[in-house]
């Protein structure tokens, strides 16, 4: 009987909030604490400030293309080679999407799916297909989309319980035979995030937003899904390989990790409880846990803040060293294919090399695009990067074998490896 008494949420109900209300200011009236914390997601800590806590995250929308010049070549021919930034807080979801030079002002409505609290109502009214087809421009100018990710994206306005507002996630889960109506509250604390923090693609010419989970959530299952479906986002401008761009697979990587096994949810670390005057509230300032280790980690882990930070950084540094290795290996592979092309190799000659390039980059990108630099599943991240390196070097080898089989001559030496591990 304690449970019921507890399950009921006690708060001062001042106003009735209509279901799907996009404007957080309306919710504020009943829930000032959560609203004020939510506003803090606007705080952008510059790298200098963030670097007191970590190395790979933070809230500054710096350009990844400036930080990693190789990315321009790795994504050659894809919009991500034009504009690609570090992500920042929820308050900026809409603004940043609109501002991005990716697809300029030609963005399809599907881009809005994870960027605004107007989505739930719009989808209820017109259905998802319509949303995906309607240009972003039109959604803003004619349907008045103006709020970023906010209360309505995660909450039922009457009960305040968490709820799924994105059909994409519901569809993908049911294809996997998972019934969301039986989800526990603890599971919901990750599912609400998984609606957006997941790898996606646009299916067919109607750009139907879809999660590639039918074969499973591991990188290998997802790659196999795309291969079977014969899908590619773009053709690589240099190697001419058919490529897949991976985007923020936080949910997928987390699922393979120990915290998921231990039933630890996204919200446990990114929205830990705070006690305000002896009253517990969920911290709605969603951000890097490294800036909030005491609440995010120390209730479960009774080590020091210092120790927890060092653990995270050690795991991330290891991931980063492999990520860099894989990056160099893929660049070498691209150079190899180009050398073979220059020496007169045919498409038939290079079919295998290109297949391997695709396999390598999907795996590299899975960790590059994922936002925890491997922390969410440290060994699995290292494992797939090892696979990526193997595929990339084999792609380069295939290119050379083409040359040697023909006894062709080339002078180029391979990409210099500048890496702390290299003696």
């Amino acid at each position: 009987f304690e449970r019921q008494q507890e399950a009921r949420l006690m708060y001062l109900k001042i106003t009735d909030i209509p279901e799907g209300e996009p404007d957080p200011a309306v919710w504020k009236v009943n829930f000032p604490r959560q609203y004020e914390a939510y506003l803090k997601t606007m705080r952008t800590s510059e790298m200098i400030q963030y670097s007191r806590w970590g190395r790979y995250g933070g809230s500054e929308a710096f350009s990844k293309l400036d930080k990693h010049p190789n990315y321009v070549r790795l994504f050659a021919g894809h919009p991500f080679s034009v504009d690609y930034r570090e992500e920042t807080g929820h308050m900026f979801t809409l603004r940043d999407m609109l501002a991005s030079q990716r697809l300029g002002d030609q963005k399809p409505g599907a881009c809005m799916a994870c960027k605004s609290s107007h989505v739930p109502n719009f989808v209820r009214q017109y259905g998802a297909e319509t949303l995906y087809k309607t240009p972003v421009k039109e959604l803003v100018e004619q349907h008045g989309f103006k709020h970023p990710v906010s209360c309505a994206d995660c909450h039922n306005a009457q009960t305040m319980e968490l709820q799924i507002t994105r059909v994409t996630f519901a569809e993908a889960m049911s294809r996997r035979g998972i019934d969301l109506s039986t989800a526990t509250r603890q599971e919901m604390r990750s599912y609400v995030c998984a609606q957006c923090h997941s790898e996606y693609y646009f299916k067919g010419k109607d750009r139907y937003l879809t999660f590639p989970w039918d074969k499973g959530l591991s990188v290998d299952s997802i790659a196999a899904y795309y291969d079977a479906y014969g899908f590619s986002d773009w053709t690589h401008a240099e190697s001419k390989a058919p490529m897949v761009k991976i985007q923020h697979p936080e949910f997928e990587l987390w699922s393979t990790g120990l915290h998921a096994r231990a039933n630890v949810s996204c919200a446990d670390c990114h929205m830990p409880y705070r006690s305000e005057g002896g009253i517990k509230v969920t911290d709605h300032w969603i951000r890097t846990p490294l800036a909030n280790l005491t609440n995010a980690c120390l209730t479960c882990h009774r080590q020091s803040e210092q120790e927890m930070r060092e653990r995270v950084l050690q795991m991330q540094d290891r991931t980063y060293s492999l990520l860099t290795r894989a990056e160099h290996a893929i660049i070498s592979a691209i150079d190899g294919v180009k050398a073979a092309l220059a020496a007169g190799a045919t498409d038939a000659d290079l079919k295998e090399a290109r297949r391997l390039h695709r396999q390598a980059q999907v795996r590299w990108d899975f960790i590059s695009a994922e936002n925890s630099m491997g922390f969410h599943s440290s060994q699995e991240a290292a494992r797939m990067l090892g696979d990526a390196i193997d595929y990339a070097r084999q792609a380069e080898l295939e290119a050379y074998k083409v040359l040697t089989r023909r006894g062709m001559r080339t002078q180029r030496s391979s990409y210099p490896i500048n890496d702390r591990n290299n003696p």
Binding site: E6, R185, C300, R302
Partner: protein, 144 residues
């Protein structure tokens, strides 16, 4: 294990003997003190010592063992003490546990007691199936 099931059978068939037997060991193990609230009562048994030491340095050293491990509900309270007491004496007689674990009922009891004392703190948040208070607050009772 076999002893366990054998004992289960006895429980049904020969309650008389069981009562007598557990009564004996119950005394032998100074089990009567189990009914007291004094934590000292619990460390009559070596197996309890680690918990006692750890409890002594925990944030809850001002809360007695029974404060968490016995239901604080007027009716169930004494029944539970008896049940747990019998379980204890039986275990003490036949079993030699390598690692102590809360029984499912033991877990429910503790969880209920967390909430009993902290209801006001929790009033503004949802309770969550699938996680127990002490999944996060590891070692509140015993700073392992």
């Amino acid at each position: 294990m076999t002893l366990r099931s054998l004992f289960g059978a006895l429980l049904i068939v020969l309650p008389g003997i069981v009562v007598g037997l557990s009564g004996y060991t119950f005394y032998y193990a100074r089990g009567y003190s189990y009914l007291l609230d004094d934590p000292q009562a619990c460390i009559n048994c070596h197996v309890m010592r680690d918990n006692h030491i750890a409890w002594g340095v925990s944030s809850h050293r001002n809360v007695t063992c029974n404060g968490c491990h016995v239901p604080h509900h007027p009716i169930t309270q004494w029944y539970a003490k008896a049940e747990s007491g019998i379980r204890h004496s039986y275990v003490f007689t036949f079993d030699n546990p390598q690692v102590l674990r809360l029984s499912p009922s033991g877990e429910r009891t503790v969880e209920a007691n967390c909430i009993r004392c902290h209801a006001s703190t929790l009033s503004a948040v949802f309770h969550r199936e699938g996680v127990r208070c002490f999944d996060c607050h590891r070692g509140v009772g015993h700073a392992f």
